[in-house]
Symmetry: C3
């Protein structure tokens, strides 16, 4: 018996490593070299490519493609239709240079946000929905806009911090 | 015989309420508590969650997830890859507070737009493609940008209104 | 034997024209009147509508809907979750006017970008990830932002050109 749940309409290639308690939903495709931790929730129409790495307790909402070079640490939330980039100058059917992304522990990426390659999202940071993140985001920062800029600070509970030293 | 059309590759859970004449296309997933009205068109890779409510004559294009707390009234158009938010401060595997969205009668949401939680889109309004809507949109307004701002007015036919009182 | 590869979970309607060496991946839906050239890569959860036209050597990443009226020339790269618009004033269940898009030879559209109808993306141009393109993009221009503006120039290799005449 598998230690994780796989929806009948999900595809999980032999060789993918998936932790106990993780749930893989309909129309998801997990490739052979992917690594997914424990107690994750990988929602409909998402995709986890060879060499993508996802930690424990991660939520990936619908329509997210986690490509090679993307590392998602424990406790990260990825909203619906978030897009990760792993090639700065994409060109069809040409040689390319992989440039990774790291989303650190406990960060949350709002719906439809876009994360450029080469970027690190700091621990616990909150990326506002619809943002386009083109440079590193400090730990516990809130960023928003296109391009995304720091607009506030969150606590370890993910709620905004107010006041003089926020 | 079902009063609605379900593509062979769509998933519709027992208990979902779906009106006559509605069409549910491939790789769509409609959960048990979802309510969808009559003569709707729910396109490929979309998702309708428990407790989401969709009226009559609604078009949901490809890749849209309609989550719990989202209410879509009659005659609304939702473009491809539109994202709805129902949690202001998402955090993986933590308690959360649902905050809804209402899209009023006859409004249209452009492709890839992002609608923040707590927002009401007014009757007949037009949200430009790629916009990020962070506050209420007045009836028959056209909004665009990130964050979205009012840039014009539409008539009941959905076409821009010009002139002094527009 | 088919001259192209179709994943077991892809849908390709009879009548679709698909060139030699093209690969159609899981949860993709290609409609009867679609035309796709040779050596293309059409990735998971994408959709190619009747009368959409895709040239040779094109890459369409995950979650992209190529609608009627969209013409994609040879060698174009379309990033994940890119959205094309083919109706300026969409209205559910109302008559509409199709307005096309042309993406010229060798152009690349970054992840999550939105291309408004009526627009031509020039040869070899690079649309930054998350951009919203509302007007024509010159050949070999780099555009970014919402709305997208020209921010640089690329060479035929797709890499930025620097210096006085760039």
């Amino acid at each position: 018996m598998m230690p994780y749940f796989k929806h009948d309409k999900a595809l999980v290639a032999d060789g993918a490593k998936i932790g106990e308690g993780t749930r893989i939903w309909a129309f998801v495709n997990v490739q052979a070299g992917a690594v997914i931790g424990k107690n994750c929730n990988i929602c409909d129409c998402s995709y986890v490519e060879n060499k993508a790495v996802i930690g424990d307790d991660v939520t990936i909402k619908n329509g997210v493609s986690v490509y090679e070079g993307v590392t998602i640490e424990d406790g990260v939330f990825v909203g619906p239709n978030v897009a990760f980039v792993n090639d700065r100058y994409p060109k069809s059917r040409a040689p390319w240079t992989m440039e990774g992304i790291r989303v650190k522990k406990g960060a949350s990426l709002g719906a439809n946000s876009t994360i450029l390659c080469g970027v690190t999202i700091g621990e616990g940071a909150l990326v506002g929905a619809g943002s386009v993140v083109v440079k590193d985001v400090p730990a516990f920062a809130i960023v928003a806009g296109n391009p995304a800029r720091v607009i506030g600070k969150v606590g370890v509970d993910g709620k905004p911090v107010k006041g003089k030293n926020a």
